[in-house]
Symmetry: C2
Subunit: 325 residues, 2 copies
DNA sequence: CAATCATCATGAGTTTTATTCATGTTTAAT
DNA sequence: ATTAAACATGAATAAAACTCATGATGATTG
């Protein structure tokens, strides 16, 4: 037989009340039950847990060690139990968020701030700077929500909630020769072979420009240069150090200010959809559903040039509307 | 009903094995038993714990939360269980030591070093700088051994193992007028009323000179000055800033070097006995019994002027021998 | 696509464990 | 010494944990 929480709870209560009778009362048991219980524990461990004939009650070293264990773990069990109850009722929960798309901080931060007001009980955590694959971590339970544009259909048990569709665009210097040479508003992959790509400092697989544009065409850029911040990337582009792919909504303000020019990636433009990946069973939870709503609202309120995934799907079906923004 | 460790163990094993059948094998149960067990847990918490029809096995958020709890607390339970087993067998244990007497570091450190070699499994900790009463902490289980010269007979469940008896002596400057004035080797409390006392920086109640010499006679010294280290206290005495009570064994080397002179406190000398206080049930433990032996050996090997408590008791009974050292 | 195999669920029956009840023993207080 | 409160104990009972036998489900394969 093994230690059980029941034993630790009883022992803790024995210390608290100072007598079997009162401890039994608190546990809604008889004094006899506790007497049997402690005797069994003592038999199991081969030593006394407390000194019977003594007032006030005294514990032996073994008893004290078990009390210490109880002090250590019982509160944790309580917390877990509350978490489960809240999870069942949908009142609150944990929301460990990771984002794959670096620019997304732009809308995620305001969204989180708004959300926090409505759900102060939800334990929010933003797991940036992770060096593990986020979607498996979501399945494992280390994360609760992943913002990604690359759903993995292999992973079971996940639901991908579309947030919005956006266009990946190429930021290019106003003085760049391509702007003059091309008689069109879009580039082919081959036309970027001589350019330096400015990117976020993350793995190549997580950059849409490579995964969905250059790599499929077998084009390698003249160089790759990284920058942490979007504003730095734009600055490098503006000063002619290279070109850079950014979501249209991230690029918008810099276009307005006339810092850089914009080209579409390919004739159709490189559209993709951003999803919030969550575990299926969490999807219905009010606190999560509301987070998704808040996130979407924040995005459509603040980001220029994005579309609902549905609208974009319709647009793709009827090519005449493709370029509408 | 409440969460029990059995549930957490089963769930962890389910994750480890990936199936009810294999988890049941490992637990020496039938698959049916586990099926019933998990169903009950789910009923209790009002939600599924894992997704049945799925390979590989997937857990729900609730299941993951319980797994996390298990990962958190099950290892702690294991550790406690091992501790209890070792406590039962007397192989090893914990030894959190506190000392009331500041000078005792002088022999405690070598004793600990010797002891460590023989009992590498025992978790040794020296709780110095405590600001709580050490004997109650010993009863409570926060400490396992307290070196004290003031046993408290009120506290039940403690055993006081005598280490040795020693004499509290007064260190006094070689040029001090008292040395000339007195025609004897001892002082009365009243004769210290004009002196500054140099003491360790601890509460007055913990200083034998006050508790057993000055306070009973109602004598207040001209001043109190503190120093952290014995050597500093002796230095202050040597330079005439005051007098200072120290155990004879701590004073010995400074007398030898001729830094200070020594006077007895009262005609009989102020003898007291140093005890190692332990909880009664720990007393028989081999690892503890051996610590006491090592400590005593170290003391008698290194300290000059100490006596066994028994010898001192005999000496006190026959006054003619009182002053023998 | 049926056949097969492995896994899991289920209900009744059984064993084990937890608890109570009735009563005796010990302890501390008066 | 007497008494009251607390605790221990063994038998009886209630509750739980578990098994067995079997049926359902899902994945695999020829």
């Amino acid at each position: 037989m093994m230690i059980e929480l029941r034993h630790l709870r009883a022992l803790s209560l024995l210390r608290e009340t100072g007598s079997l009778v009162r401890a039994a009362e608190r546990l809604h048991l008889t004094q006899s039950a506790l007497s049997h219980l402690f005797r069994e524990m003592e038999d199991r461990h081969g030593q006394e847990l407390f000194v019977r004939k003594s007032r006030p009650l005294r514990f032996t070293s073994a008893g004290l060690r078990l009390l210490q264990l109880g002090d250590d773990i019982l509160p944790r069990v309580e917390v877990a139990q509350r978490d489960l109850a809240r999870l069942a009722s949908g009142q609150a929960g944990r929301l460990n968020i990771a984002i794959e798309c670096h620019s997304c901080y732009q809308w995620l931060m305001p969204a989180l701030n708004t959300y926090r007001d409505g759900w102060p009980e939800v334990e929010l955590d933003l797991c940036s700077g992770f060096h593990f694959a986020p979607l498996p971590a979501l399945v494992r339970g280390d994360l609760d929500l992943v913002v990604t544009s690359n759903p993995d259909p292999e992973l079971k048990g996940l639901h991908y909630e579309p947030l919005f569709s956006f266009e990946m665009c190429l930021a290019i210097s106003l003085k760049h020769s391509l702007l003059q040479e091309l008689k069109r508003r879009w580039v082919e992959p081959q036309e970027l072979a001589k350019e330096v790509q400015i990117t976020y400092p993350v793995e190549r697989e997580r950059l849409d420009i490579f995964q969905h544009f250059l790599d499929p065409a077998g084009v390698e850029p003249a160089g790759i240069r990284t920058a942490e911040l979007t504003v730095m990337m734009v600055q490098l582009v503006a000063s002619g150090r290279g070109v850079c792919a950014l979501p249209n909504w991230a690029l918008y303000e810099y276009l307005q200010k006339g810092f850089v020019a914009q080209l579409q990636l390919g004739r159709e433009g490189l559209w993709s959809t951003l999803y919030a990946a969550v575990r299926e069973d969490l999807r219905e939870q009010p606190y999560l559903a509301d987070f998704l709503k808040t996130a979407r609202n924040t995005c459509f309120a603040n980001l220029q040039g994005i579309r609902t995934a549905r609208a974009r799907a319709r647009a793709r079906a009827s090519p005449t509307m493709t370029e509408a923004t």
